[in-house]
């Protein structure tokens, strides 16, 4: 490890938690102010990509479970599709959200328990998984290229 690497490593390590927190905040506050699942997912993914860039993808993979990124994307898409098509079972059109308009929403702190929030979470997971997954694929491909 060259000395010039120490500072970026420390900073990257140190920033991981705040970035994650910002992502969660952007998601939770999404319905009342700036931010939504897409933005939050991208921010969180950029936090991971930062580790990739600084530590190299091999070490980043050792530190974090990034190998599961495609799975996260698949789970997100599955959740989104499930929320979209579940209303069909009750005879409602696709993507009918609950609770209906004008009705009270149960709150858990500032988090509102509504299916639209769950849908947003699905978007979060998918975007996060796809961005991390693509960057990881590119990193591995670049390494293979170097080997040849």
């Amino acid at each position: 490890m060259s000395p010039s690497n120490v500072l970026p490593r420390a900073v990257a390590r140190f920033l991981l938690l705040p970035i994650g927190m910002i992502a969660v905040a952007l998601f939770v506050k999404g319905l009342s102010s700036t931010g939504d699942g897409f933005v939050a997912g991208t921010v969180a993914a950029l936090g991971i990509v930062l580790q990739d860039v600084v530590f190299g993808h091999r070490e980043a993979e050792r530190l974090l479970p990034v190998r599961r990124a495609p799975l996260v994307a698949a789970v997100g898409l599955g959740l989104g599709l499930a929320i979209a098509f579940a209303p069909l079972l009750f005879g409602d059109p696709v993507l009918t959200h609950l609770p209906p308009a004008e009705e009270k929403v149960t709150k858990l702190g500032t988090l509102e328990l509504a299916t639209s929030v769950a849908f947003d979470a699905a978007v979060f997971l998918t975007v996060f998984g796809v961005v991390v997954g693509i960057v990881r694929e590119l990193a591995w491909a670049a390494e293979r290229e170097d080997e040849e």
């Binding site: 999404g30 319905l31 009342s32 102010s33 700036t34 931010g35 939504d36 699942g37 897409f38 933005v39 991208t42 921010v43 950029l46 990509v49 860039v53 495609p70 994307a73 698949a74 997100g76 898409l77 989104g80 599709l81 979209a84 098509f85 069909l88 005879g91 059109p93 696709v94 993507l95 959200h97 609770p99 308009a101 004008e102 929403v105 509102e112 509504a114 639209s116 929030v117 849908f119 947003d120 699905a122 978007v123 998918t126 975007v127 998984g129 796809v130 961005v131 997954g133 693509i134 960057v135 694929e137 590119l138 990193a139 591995w140 491909a141 670049a142 293979r144 290229e145």
Partner: protein, 786 residues
């Protein structure tokens, strides 16, 4: 290429083993030999199919039922299924014959894979696609909505592509699969167009509603003809029949299922389902009669001359579906009931015959030419008897279910006069001759070549054949169940009118009996004098194959390839040229639009105050960065300059009070810069350096700026014009969305739009993202393996 292999598509015999394959087979056969445990995947698939069969039968006996889910009511889209008689018949065929074929596949596929030196786990995709096919068939049989019908229609085509091309290492295999996909897929567009015509005319895709409202006329005739074309191509009718013989490269269980009872039956299913529409146009009916008769005679004549077992059966299928199409074309109660009855009778017999061919080939170490078989009744007596029953059913002999299918055919034809009757009767004559030759050459006489291979097939290959053959016999003796089902199907096709057809053996000199006797006599005569007229049939087959529609298919495929590579040369090879091909036509179109509309007073220049200074500075920065992007030669610098422009624009959004947009813009710019850098790191350094040091060619020095200026100017003209006179309705839409946001439990309108108002769009975009991930992974992995 010698003519024999040319006229008879080189079908890959599943068990023809070359020396190296034989050696592999010894190794692989030891663990996957006939004595291993029965494959669990096959057992599971067969059980599932049998359970589905029982469930459908139970539901049908309880009076059917329907499911109607309006999944997007504002667009008029419904998931509407109904288990009526027509649906029940085809769903029972798909699941019942499916169960028999799955049972048969268990052993067969293991042997097939072992002879190719492939691992046994390859069978998983086979069962997955077979099940997908069975599910699509049931969906197709019960769908009551034209769009839904179209979706299942194409699903069957896709599943069949993977099943026919199961031996993916063989060229013939995937070219046969592609042919089936293209022929049935392209003609499926005719079904879609016909459906859209009906939708425009009646405002709904729902079949029962369209049938209730449709009146004869040119619109209906065109739509009906288009739908009929799709059905005829799927049922392998002249001139689309050539895909079926080429699809015989599929493993035998696939043929026993798809090419006897399912894929080809789908075409007749569509005709039966839309028959109340088709029957309103005499033109369409006559067309179907002609096509059916042509297929009947062409298929029958060529089947007489084929050497390979599955080729005989393929052309026989073309001919037999010709009967059904002709029956529907003849029309009336006898036609509608006959078409349905025929499907069931034929499916039982033909499926069994395909499985006979597979069992014989398997037991004879890959031999599949009629000329080299013979005398096989000694080694496989049960298969011989079951095969005889199935062949008798196909030929329409009494005491089998086939007798009634021919009786209905003659009954329908007699109403159209002697000429049609004579032509129609020629079909069964040919059938008797070619199926008699097929059976006799396999099982009778002396073995023309000393039998090699195991000699007798395993019991799980024989049992399904025996069951189907016995059913052919049982329904011939006890016709009532099939008669009532076919009668009910006929009344669906006749839009609810009862069909009133009764079937029984009458021992008197009625016309249909006399025709049947004549057919047996002539067919027997043909069979006895086989050698004398064979050259005639061979001559016909040679001409038909050489100048047939397959030629047109091949040449049009070649032309399409040529066009595609020409386009590729022009458009895709050079990225700059490709961008120019998009931008310049856009600019020209906009210019045409501008010239055609009045522009006076459309362009306003706003006022710039002191408070706007930050905005102006940011915009100037963005513009400067855009201009600067034309200068650098290094790719990395270029990326940074471009993101500078993007970040400046993001700041502009922030100033305009659109924090959401600004946030997204910043994140996307960051991501793109990172991705660009990552992609550049994939390219070899010397390529990047070479690109940097290339001097700009003379033509590009003028062309590129010109393209940029032209497209930029017209983009400016449009944006400026739009901003000068904002459309009031846009503002109203925005205000409405803001008003509605609280109702969606959101104070932030952007999130409400994303996750509620336009959630379907979001879902589609998210799906595209996941597909992109899969694409990136696939593209990069392929690079590695190369």
């Amino acid at each position: 290429m010698e003519p024999q292999t040319r006229t008879e598509p080189d079908e890959r015999a599943p068990f023809v083993v070359s020396d190296s394959a034989a050696r592999r087979r010894d190794g692989a056969g030891a663990e996957a030999g006939p004595l291993g445990p029965f494959p669990p995947a096959a057992a599971l698939a067969a059980t599932l199919a049998a359970l589905a069969f029982a469930a459908i039968l139970y539901a049908w006996l309880r009076g059917g039922g329907s499911i109607d889910l309006p999944w997007a009511p504002t667009l008029g889209l419904r998931l509407h299924f109904r288990l009526d008689a027509l649906g029940a018949l085809y769903a029972l065929l798909a699941t019942g014959i499916g169960a028999a074929v799955f049972l048969y596949s268990g052993r067969y596929l293991r042997l097939h894979l072992a002879s190719d030196g492939r691992p046994a786990r390859d069978e998983r995709s086979f069962y997955a696609f077979m099940l997908l096919f069975a599910v699509s068939m049931v969906g197709l049989a019960t769908a009551q909505d034209l769009l839904l019908l179209f979706v299942f229609w194409d699903l069957t085509a896709i599943a069949s592509y993977f099943l026919i091309g199961f031996d993916r290492h063989e060229t013939a295999s995937w070219s046969g699969a592609l042919m089936a996909l293209l022929v049935t897929g392209i003609t499926a567009v005719a079904l879609l167009v016909g459906s859209v015509i009906l939708f425009v005319a009646h405002g709904t895709f729902s079949l029962p509603e369209i049938i209730a409202h449709a009146r004869p006329g040119t619109t209906l005739t065109v739509a009906a003809a288009l739908i009929a074309v799709a059905g005829l191509a799927k049922s392998a009718q002249v001139p689309f029949h050539f895909w079926l013989p080429n699809a015989m490269v599929a493993p035998t269980p696939v043929s026993a299922y798809l090419h006897s009872a399912a894929m080809v039956a789908a075409g007749v299913l569509l005709i039966g389902r839309t028959y109340p529409l088709l029957a309103q146009s005499q033109l369409v009916l006559d067309g179907m009669l002609v096509v059916g008769l042509a297929s009947m005679l062409t298929g029958g004549l060529i089947a007489l001359t084929r050497e390979r077992l599955k080729q005989v059966l393929a052309y026989s299928t073309v001919a037999q579906y010709g009967y059904m199409v002709a029956l529907y074309g003849l029309g009336g109660a006898a036609g509608a009931v006959g078409g349905a009855f025929f499907v069931a009778a034929h499916a039982l017999a033909k499926s069994a015959l395909f499985m006979v061919s597979g069992a014989v080939t398997q037991a004879s170490d890959g031999e599949e030419r009629l000329g080299r078989l013979g005398g096989r009744w000694r080694t496989m007596p049960i298969v011989a008897v079951a095969g005889a029953l199935a062949a008798a059913a196909l030929a329409g002999l009494p005491l089998t279910v086939g007798f009634f299918k021919d009786e209905l055919l003659f009954k329908a034809a007699l109403k159209r006069g002697p000429l049609v009757t004579a032509l129609v009767a020629a079909g069964p004559v040919l059938t008797l001759a070619y199926i008699g030759r097929f059976w006799g050459r396999i099982f009778l006489g002396r073995p023309r070549q000393a039998p090699t291979g195991p000699g007798s097939p395993p019991a799980t290959l024989v049992a399904p054949i025996a069951v189907l053959a016995l059913l052919s016999l049982a329904f011939g003796l006890w016709i009532a169940p099939l008669e009532s089902l076919a009668g009910a199907v006929g009344s669906v096709s006749l839009a609810g009118k009862p069909a009133g057809i009764s079937l029984a053996y009458y021992l008197d000199a009625r016309a249909t009996n006399l025709i049947a006797l004549g057919v047996y006599a002539l067919g027997g005569l043909l069979l006895a004098t086989y050698r004398h007229w064979l050259p005639v049939a061979q001559g016909f087959a040679r001409v038909a194959l050489r100048f047939g529609p397959e030629r047109a298919y091949v040449s049009s495929l070649r032309q399409a390839n040529r066009l595609s590579s020409a386009l590729h040369r022009v458009e895709v090879r050079d990225l700059r040229r490709r961008v120019a091909w998009v931008l310049v036509p856009c600019g020209v179109l906009v210019a045409a639009g501008l010239l055609a509309t009045p522009t006076v007073g459309q362009y306003a220049i706003g006022k710039l105050g002191v408070g706007d200074a930050p905005l102006a500075i940011l915009l100037a920065l963005a513009a400067a960065a855009a201009l600067a992007a034309t200068v650098p030669r290094s790719q990395l610098v270029l990326v940074l300059v471009l993101s500078a422009s993007g970040y400046s624009l993001a700041a502009v959004f922030a100033l305009f009070g659109a924090p959401d947009v600004a946030l997204v813009a910043v994140l996307v710019e960051t991501l793109f810069a990172l991705l660009f850098v990552a992609v550049f790191s994939l390219l070899p350094d010397d390529v990047l350096r070479r690109e940097q040091s290339l001097s700009v060619s003379h033509s590009r020095r003028w062309r590129d700026p010109l393209v940029g200026v032209v497209s930029g100017f017209f983009a400016l003209a449009v944006v400026w014009g739009t901003l000068s006179s904002p459309v009031p309705s846009d503002r109203r839409v925005a205000e409405r969305l803001i008003d509605l946001a609280p109702a969606a439990h959101g104070k932030d309108v952007v999130t409400a739009i994303l996750s509620d108002f336009r959630a379907l769009d979001t879902l589609a975009e998210v799906t595209v993202l996941v597909i992109a991930l899969a694409g990136v992974a696939g593209a990069l992995t392929r690079r590695r393996s190369r």
